[in-house]
Symmetry: C2
Subunit: 203 residues, 2 copies
């Protein structure tokens, strides 16, 4: 088994934090996006769309998509449970996990990709779209702060995969130049708590 | 239990097809997006971001996000299995399901939202972004046709939730004005087969 990953990108980071929380070690090969290694023919044989991360199993089967890789490890090594236990807990974690991905992570990434000078060469940038994405990210952070008023973690009383995605999205606000308002007290309380986990240091 | 849904939109349709495949009946209330019912205060108490569908449980708990609702029903009523059986099957279905959502459905929806005149009032349209989304959708349809060369269904030999998402995305190509090339023989073979399922008629 081998994980192809890259340092500093939010999606591979989600998988690495997930594995650390479960104390699972997987041989990992670094793919440098800045060196365009994800676009080399050898890597494209594994991930035809040049996506990172990728998990290659012993028999050569490839699992792409961060959440598919995480779920695979959750099924093989359930403890500690990060996708929920009961049917309802699993549904609510899935709900919050998807909101953190689609409403927060994607709008932060959209801001970065469409406004950051470093991405001008890699992306057909539309700064106007980047601005819409930035507003969407800010709106979602506002809502998240409200949701954290009565919840210790993103999906309720337990740390879950939704917290991992939220952390990676929020840390990605720095290069995307999205500021987290000082007024978001609940969000800052959550960030302080999450940052104390050793896994949060993984990049 | 009550499902709030709307006719003709791809996300609620995914849930309705999923329920039909499992032969589960849930009392459903129609929310008209054209009549802006999703923005009324009563509905916002259920879904603060005005998202449809929403599932309200007996105790008032709300589950949002189509795939979270589907997973909840999968856990309660496993047969027929639509998210996979073994760990690997579940991981590969999750992988294809997410690709169909994020690479196909979202680019088709992005094309529609940013180019369709009917959406001009509801969306801050950026036609240039709509064009990028259209190209992304066409590229994904090209890849999907290749993937279907050796697969009967989207995620392998079994019908799954990934087929439901793909069907809803592909049918949404019509209002988005994305044509499916006649050269995509494998894709057309899959479409013909899927359309024979009674659940595919649900809108």
């Amino acid at each position: 088994m081998k994980l192809y990953s890259t340092t500093g990108a939010p999606n591979p980071r989600r998988v690495k934090i997930f594995l650390a929380e479960k104390e699972i070690e997987v041989p990992t090969q670094e793919i440098s996006i800045m060196e365009q290694e994800h676009k080399e023919e050898n890597y494209k044989k594994i991930s035809p769309s040049s996506r990172v991360p990728a998990l290659v199993l012993e028999d050569g089967t490839v699992i792409l998509e961060s959440m598919a890789i995480c779920r695979y490890f959750e099924l093989l090594n359930p403890e500690p449970v990060l996708f929920g236990n009961t049917e309802l807990e699993q549904a609510l974690i899935e709900m919050q996990s998807r909101r953190m991905e689609m409403e927060l992570m994607m709008s932060v990434a959209g801001t970065f990709r469409h406004t950051h000078p470093a991405f001008a060469k890699l992306e057909n940038q539309i700064p106007e779209y980047g601005k819409i994405m930035k507003k969407a990210a800010e709106k979602r952070l506002f809502l998240l702060n409200q949701e954290l008023e009565n919840n210790q973690f993103i999906a309720g009383p337990k740390y879950s995969v939704a917290d991992i995605t939220a952390l990676c999205a929020i840390d990605f606000c720095v290069p995307a130049k999205i500021e987290i308002s000082e007024n978001h007290k609940n969000l800052h309380r959550w960030i302080e708590e999450i940052k104390q986990r050793p896994s949060s240091k993984i990049m």
